[in-house]
């Protein structure tokens, strides 16, 4: 049982992120915290598992009691004996390199004997048949497989309470369904689930109650039936994604256009199935979505198209002329999923003009204004917020004025409001001298933006 009383939370001198939160979660219940990005829903999760105070330096008033123990007086390992956590980005979840050892790592640390570990492992395999994920290298799992492993690890640890922070945000539809089934099984086993999420359709059959968080306060508490009755438009207004599964309404790609791919071939290391891509052509001025399950090689395809994949072989033509890897690199730009990888300089203005030749400063400033970055032009890019960083990366792509623009999962983890902003931004990049490619599993996003999709 989790009992929160008058919880307020702040980081340093900035305004409070959470104000006077009071609630109770009973044993075996499944509770959803939902709301816009930045509403404070993840902070509630992180104050329950102790990370907010012990890692992010948050200051807490009020009390959080788990099984009548005050979290403030517990060490992180003592909290972890009561609560397991599943993070937003499964990449950050693992300590071991080997998957089986990772599953057992917690059990080793609480001092179970080898027999007990085997028992727990077998018990887990009975509910979650994930034999194919055992004894693998964590770096070679897809995002979906990693998240499945995280949830399995939360079960094997045997804690009664599991907190999950936007578990679906890096996953495609198929994996979200798997996660949903796993959560249902956990609930059947009597686990208490506390979830923060703004993509809510997959949770509708699981939750008992939902709390709408706005600006750090509980705006309203809903029972499941009340929550189901909220119309979709209202949800979008609140920054939430749809509560039913969205269907992709974008048509499949048609064969015409003057960016022609005769052939792309890429051999994955040690796997039999290769990436093969043949006889497809793209039209200038269009936006193409690239979809497919996690781990099919969407990102690899992007790298092959851009020309930064050494091991691939390809035959690609633009307006009848064959393009080498080097030619393509020159006319391509990429906005990566983690934009921290692509911010290099010490100020926003230097960042966007880096590698750009013969552009008037006015042009650059116009782009900054359009993206709301002009005021920040002398700031260090790394000191900006996540959304601002992403806009800087997009601005730099726009300044380079490439003919091929690539976006790798631009909306992962975004609420409805931020997703629509990015969608509008990319829409503005569109002109008849450019082709835009977007790798994404976000169907609502692609529906709002893409002209065609390619299904890998």
């Amino acid at each position: 049982m989790v009992k929160i009383e008058n919880l307020s939370l702040s980081y340093g001198n900035s305004p409070k992120v959470l104000k006077n939160i009071s609630l109770r979660v009973e044993k075996g219940e499944c509770v959803l915290f939902t709301g816009k990005s930045g509403s404070g829903k993840s902070s509630i999760i992180n104050s329950i598992n102790g990370l907010a105070v012990q890692y992010d330096g948050a200051f807490i008033e009020g009390t959080i009691r788990i099984d009548n123990k005050d979290v403030n007086n517990l060490k992180l390992y003592e909290i972890s004996i009561l609560v397991s956590s599943v993070f937003q980005n499964p990449k950050t979840h693992f300590f071991n390199i080997n998957t089986t050892l990772e599953l057992l790592f917690y059990l080793e640390n609480i001092g179970l004997s080898k027999n007990q570990m085997d028992e727990r492992l077998n018990d887990m395999l009975e509910i979650f048949p994930i034999n194919h994920l055992l004894n693998r290298d964590i770096f070679k799992l897809s995002g979906g497989e990693k998240q499945i492993l995280c949830i399995a690890a939360s079960y094997i640890s045997g804690t009664e309470i599991i907190v999950l922070d936007e578990p679906s945000s890096n996953l495609d539809e198929e994996n979200i369904i798997i996660i949903k089934e796993m959560l249902m099984k956990l609930k059947d086993k009597g686990k208490t689930l506390i979830i923060s999420e703004h993509r809510i359709y997959y949770l509708m059959d699981i939750i008992d109650r939902a709390f709408l968080i706005q600006d750090g306060v509980i705006q309203r508490e809903y029972t499941k039936t009340e929550f189901m009755k909220i119309p979709s438009e209202k949800l979008n207004e609140l920054g939430l994604r749809d509560k039913t599964k969205t269907k992709l309404t974008v048509p499949e790609i048609q064969k015409k256009g003057n960016f022609e791919i005769k052939n792309i071939e890429f051999k994955f290391n040690g796997v039999d199935n290769n990436l093969l891509f043949k006889d497809i052509s793209f039209e200038m001025g269009k936006i193409y979505g690239i979809v497919g399950t996690n781990g099919l090689g969407k990102s690899t395809l992007l790298r092959c198209l851009i020309g930064c994949e050494r091991k691939s072989r390809e035959e690609i033509y633009l307006e009848g002329k064959r393009l080498s890897k080097r030619n393509r690199l020159k006319i391509s730009s990429l906005v990566m999923q983690d934009v921290n990888h692509q911010l290099f300089t010490d100020s926003v203005i230097n960042e966007v003009s880096l590698g750009v030749k013969n552009r008037e400063i006015r042009y650059v400033e116009d782009i900054l204004r359009k993206l709301d970055l002009y005021e920040l032009k002398d700031r260090h890019p790394m000191s900006l917020s996540g959304g601002q960083k992403q806009r800087v990366a997009i601005a730099s792509v726009l300044c380079k004025n490439s003919r091929l623009l690539f976006f790798d999962e631009p909306t992962s983890g975004m609420d409805y409001y931020n997703m629509m902003n990015i969608s509008d931004l990319i829409h503005e990049c569109k002109n008849d001298q450019k082709i835009i490619f977007i790798v994404s599993h976000d169907q609502e996003f692609l529906n709002s933006l893409a002209d065609y999709v390619i299904n890998l």
Partner: protein, 229 residues
Amino acid sequence: MSTFSDNPYNPNPISKIGIVILLGFTVFHQINIYFEWAIIFVISFLFYKNGLKNDALKNIAFFAAFSCLLPDIVIIRNMNPFIMMFFMLFIVCRMIYLPFSAGKFFIKTSDVGSIISSMDKIKVPQNISIPIAVMFRFFPSFREESRNIKRAMRIRGITFKNPISYIEYVIVPLLVISSNISDDIAKAAETKCIENPVKKTRYLSVKIKTVDFAYMLLMLVMILGGILW
């Protein structure tokens, strides 16, 4: 990288660290070239047997390049200072090559779990073994992330033509990402109760195998032989 624990040709992390330290002596005391070659071949053989064929070949090729192409230190001493500086850099690489190579073998073929278990075995206290394990876990993540950064730089058209700004551009994102990685690893470890003071158990116990004796003994013979020859 996978668990190599069940591979009979993969020595215990302790032996591997021991060898790195032993080979450290060769930096201060040059040993006979034939014995050096023997050491290189032993390491390459182990690379090969642990499924790292490329590394086995690279190991030999680099050493061949260093030992055959570099002029003798006496000739370098009489060179123009700038050329001398250039060659000295390679001389230093050559000097640390043996321990470097053994270190690379250690890093590429050991997993965090077996390192912690083997440190437990020789009773290293937790406040030393945990930071070492975290440090160790840092490398593979770091490699993955720096690959992404390099890729981003190529697409942005940042090349090595201007080395100073190139280095500046690499370092900024690398520092930020390194600090994120270490935070994430520490969080992952702490939420898995790594600091729990109870007596820990290990699923895989790290055994001392034949290969450990063979590896240690061969290296010891080679180093002593190389010094005494």
